[in-house]
Amino acid sequence: MKILLDHIIPTPLKDRFSQNGSAIWNTSVQFTQGEYIKIKAPSGTGKTTLVHILYQIRHDYEGKIVLDDRPATAITGDALALLRQKQVSIIFQDLRLFPQLTARENIELKRVMQQPFYESSVIHEMAAELGIEKILDQEAGLCSYGEQQRIAIIRSLMQPFEWLIMDEPFSHLDIENTKKAAALIARECRKRDAGFIITDLDEDSHFTYSRQLHL
């Protein structure tokens, strides 16, 4: 799936975003499937806004987004759900887990939401890889931020996708765990011939990026 951003300007940032040098805002940019896109920007410049616009949970912007040949605004209801189940997965900065569910149930939810992409045993394998297999049956609300972030990462990898959108996905992880998580994400993207869009504050070498864009 190709993603075209055509002169997007978020309404809240309209008056204060810098006219000079943004590779995303108010310009035309296209992402091709399989690309690893890094979007770097300091705090408050709209990284999360961009992620939410891409994932279509924010609609307060000017310009238009086209997914393949479909305007994003035309995709609603069950069609939008289908897009989120099969083509676009996400790791939110604020994680968005169900605190009353266990870690395993949070991950399982995304596995069974559509025709399962993986057997349920894969949950345990990935959790072991990221070092959270022991807290799988613990309520997510009782897990630490670092653990919750790894739960959110595994959850995003339970479904088929063409694009993985990540909003500062390693913000609560130490270097060692970040490496493990990045390796897992890269492997899963390769498996699906998928691309990703990742936002972060700084330079990094977690992945071999196709493009690095400044917001």
Binding site: Q56, I57, H59, T76, G77, D78, L80, A81, L82, L83, R84, Q85, R96, F98, Q100, L101, E105, E108, L109, K110, R111, V112, M113, Q114, Q159
Partner: protein, 401 residues
């Protein structure tokens, strides 16, 4: 899908509304039982009136005449329009004219061993209104005898009063049917004597009946006046207890055997009881449905944030609606089924109780009760679907957040 629903069940909880749910379900049960009972009672009543087991042939034929008052003495004939009007009433299946003999007649014994003599008058009625299927129920000028149907009460009167007072033997129906007697008919040219024989006894019409052929012939040859208006008619009705019929007769100053229409009073009572039960059921059902939809709304509202997150993560609106539907509907279907079983048990108890008294009801609920239960299920189905759709609208419009 099953796995998803298990997780959705954990996410979309309804613990806070449990008591409301129980209240709605209890109300719903009572309402459905009341409504189904009303339908079943109506069906039972219909069954009592029309089924072959219970059909009381007497009750379905009514002889009707004008109520005699001081004002209409001697003018009690029924006009053609009055008869036509009666025929047009929905509850009247057919109307037959009772033709009275317009000639003087008497009967007397054929032998002196058993002497009797009495002046008499006859009536005739179309064949389909007679409850005796006598093969000899016809007459022509060459016939050996005139067949006669006598009212049962004539024989009772003879057996239990007259025979005692006159020191005569009691007679069975069979014996009476064997007696051939003389029928004398007096005309302008003198008396003609025929043989007569009782071929049957009836409870339906309290007069001596002769075949129409004889009556028409006799009235033509011996009749004093021609073209007299009929004073009595017999009607066939599906329900002699129909209050509308009773009201009609009263309104038109007509009277009939009150014993046969007394059922209309019970019918009115049954109608009122059934109506009260039905209306109470419908009102209770409406309130219970209201509480039920409020419960659905409360569940969705209290899980609003969770539903939004589910949509954000990619749960489709139809998945959520399907889940909520499955969550709420089976409970109500169980309630309908239990209520139906309850009505079934009541019906069975009624059946056993009334069978002992010679009243035969079906031991199973009527098909209309089954249809009513299905209709109720349909209404609940629609209301649930509509309610879920309505209260899911807002979180869906947000497309997650």
């Amino acid at each position: 899908m099953h796995g998803l629903n298990v997780l959705l069940k954990k996410i979309i909880r309804s613990g806070t509304g449990r008591s409301r749910y129980m209240m709605a379900m209890t109300g719903l049960s009572f309402a459905i039982i009341l409504m189904l009972t009303a339908v079943q009672l109506q069906a039972d009543y219909r069954d009592l009136l029309y089924s072959k087991n219970n059909r009381d042939s007497v009750a379905n034929f009514l002889v009707i005449n004008k109520t005699i008052t001081d004002q209409n003495l001697g003018a009690t004939g029924l006009t053609e329009s009055e008869i036509k009007d009666l025929q047009n009433q929905a509850y009247v299946e057919s109307v037959g004219l009772l033709t009275p003999s317009r000639f003087k007649a008497s009967i007397q014994s054929a032998s002196d061993r058993f002497p009797f003599y009495t002046d008499i008058a006859f009536e005739s009625v179309p064949k389909e209104f007679i409850d005796i299927t006598a093969k000899d129920w016809t007459w022509n000028e060459n016939a050996m005898f005139i067949p006669i149907i006598a009212p049962n009460m004539f024989l009772d009167f003879y057996n239990f009063q007259f025979s005692f007072s006159q020191n005569l033997p009691q007679l069975t129906q069979q014996v009476v049917k064997m007696i051939v007697f003389k029928v004398n008919v007096y005309g302008p040219k003198g008396m003609v004597t025929f043989n007569g024989r009782v071929v049957g006894f009836s409870d339906r019409i309290s007069s001596l009946l002769v075949p129409e052929e004889f009556m028409n012939w006799g009235n033509t040859i011996f009749g004093k006046k021609q073209d007299l208006k009929p004073s009595r008619v017999i009607i066939k009705t599906r329900d002699a207890g129909n209050p509308q019929l009773t009201a009609y007769l009263k309104g038109k100053n007509l009277s009939t055997d009150a014993d046969k229409t007394r059922f209309s009073k019970y019918r009115r009572v049954v109608d009122i009881v059934v109506s009260i039960s039905g209306v109470t059921g419908i009102i209770l059902f409406s309130f219970a449905l209201l509480v039920f939809t409020l419960f659905i709304q409360l569940t969705v509202a209290s899980s609003r944030e969770d539903i939004r997150l589910l949509i954000t993560l990619g749960t489709s609106p139809s998945q959520l609606r399907g889940f909520l539907f499955l969550r709420f509907l089976p409970g109500t279907l169980v309630i309908i089924l239990l209520s139906f079983c309850m009505v079934g048990i009541i019906q069975f108890l009624l059946y056993t109780q009334l069978t002992n008294q010679g009243i035969f009801l079906s031991r199973l609920p009527d098909i209309t009760t089954v249809l009513a239960a299905l209709l109720i299920a349909g209404v609940i189905w629609m209301v649930t679907g509509f309610s879920i759709k309505k209260c899911m609208k807002e979180p869906l419009e947000l497309r997650g957040a």
